[in-house]
Symmetry: C2
DNA sequence: CGGCATACCTACCGAGTGGTAGGTAAATGC
DNA sequence: GCATTTACCTACCACTCGGTAGGTATGCCG
């Protein structure tokens, strides 16, 4: 991909995440990249095409990240922690990703659910099987609903970034950085405790 | 409040939730109400004023709902379940509320966190105290971070509505209604299991 | 060298936006 | 009965938007 194209995508990703699709104009994106609007439209024929490219870029980064972790990690609680942290780190590396995903889901529920669904279905099915296996082995609580549990884990991770400011406002006071860490740890603890029978 | 005003707020709430603030025009809202744009602007001097009124209306409904529950409910696990369900029901009664809240948080993190924070702080502080009390009594796990836990509960509830379509797509197949129920039960189970020491 | 693609530009267009000016018909208050 | 307020309207304005037309400088390929 040409340098200009990837720079446009980088800028558009951030602007879409912060100001939303409707709230971002092509002229602003172009200006931030260092060109004029028609030049941007030379690379992406329409705003909708740009949106598509931004989403595709995000999903590709996701797709290339996860397989490594699944291969690296062991089994049981180890694997769970590694995976959970990896997903969290993916969004922590660039928190605008969480906002972008949340916006896409809210802006276009129909289109996004198919696109996102297609992208994460293989992983969720794999993890569902792992949870069922854990149940048989007696490591995992019997009353876990694997599919619903996994979706809710994603909700917790993505939501924790979106709600980070809110939590810091209500409780954190001045200690914003610490709050993010507390929320991260608590979310992981909740996910763990709700899954495994034995304390880790 | 006049009939026109409340009808405008009702329509605007839904449109803001579905299409977003930037994606909704005053003319469309007015048309749906059955009047023209200038007539709407007679009731709300600016679009921003309307946004404010929509948010205020939502928060007021919230404020009037919760006290009853806190008064009604008993203590311990009972209270927890009643409260959790009540919050869930508040959003289930009109799922656009969840979308609206999520949009507000994403669209204006700074302004919203103060507004929402102010509105829920009393309840969260009250519940924080209840959790600490539960810890002393040995009902609640010692390693719970009450504040982070409560914020994460809100994230789970609101997020479960926003992500409902997504989960149904990945797993539910045709069985959409059942999926919503599964996700609700699992979220509550996760919150419960992560809080209490003894099984309920 | 000529022919062509790349990557940008200025200038412009029609549609739609939030908001205003000014008018009107009906209800309300004295 | 008359003045005022309420609640709507038509017509309009300035502006921004996504997108197009058409031009230009640069660099590559035969």
């Amino acid at each position: 991909m040409s340098d200009s194209k990837s720079r446009i995508i980088a800028v558009a990703t951030r602007r879409f995440a912060v100001d939303g699709y409707d709230g971002t104009s092509l002229a602003h994106i172009a200006g931030e990249v260092g060109m004029k609007k028609p030049s941007l439209l030379y690379h992406f024929p329409s705003k909708e095409d740009l949106r598509e490219a931004v989403l595709k870029d995000l999903l590709e980064r996701w797709q290339t990240r996860l397989p490594e972790v699944l291969a690296r990690s062991h089994s049981g609680a180890d694997r769970f922690t590694a995976l959970y942290d990896e997903v969290h780190d993916f969004f922590e590396a660039d928190p605008t990703r969480a906002f972008l995903v949340m916006r896409e889901v809210v802006d276009r529920p129909r289109q996004t659910r198919e696109r996102l669904g297609q992208s994460i279905r293989p992983w969720l099915q794999l993890l569902t099987a792992a949870i069922d296996e854990g149940k048989s082995a007696g490591r995992v609580r019997a009353d876990v609903d694997p599919e619903a549990y996994l979706v809710q884990c994603i909700v917790m991770i993505v939501g924790s970034f979106v709600a980070a400011d809110l939590g810091a406002e209500v409780f954190g006071g001045r200690d914003g950085a610490r709050w993010a860490e507390r929320q991260r740890n608590e979310a992981r603890r909740m996910a763990q405790e709700a899954l495994f029978l034995t304390k880790i």
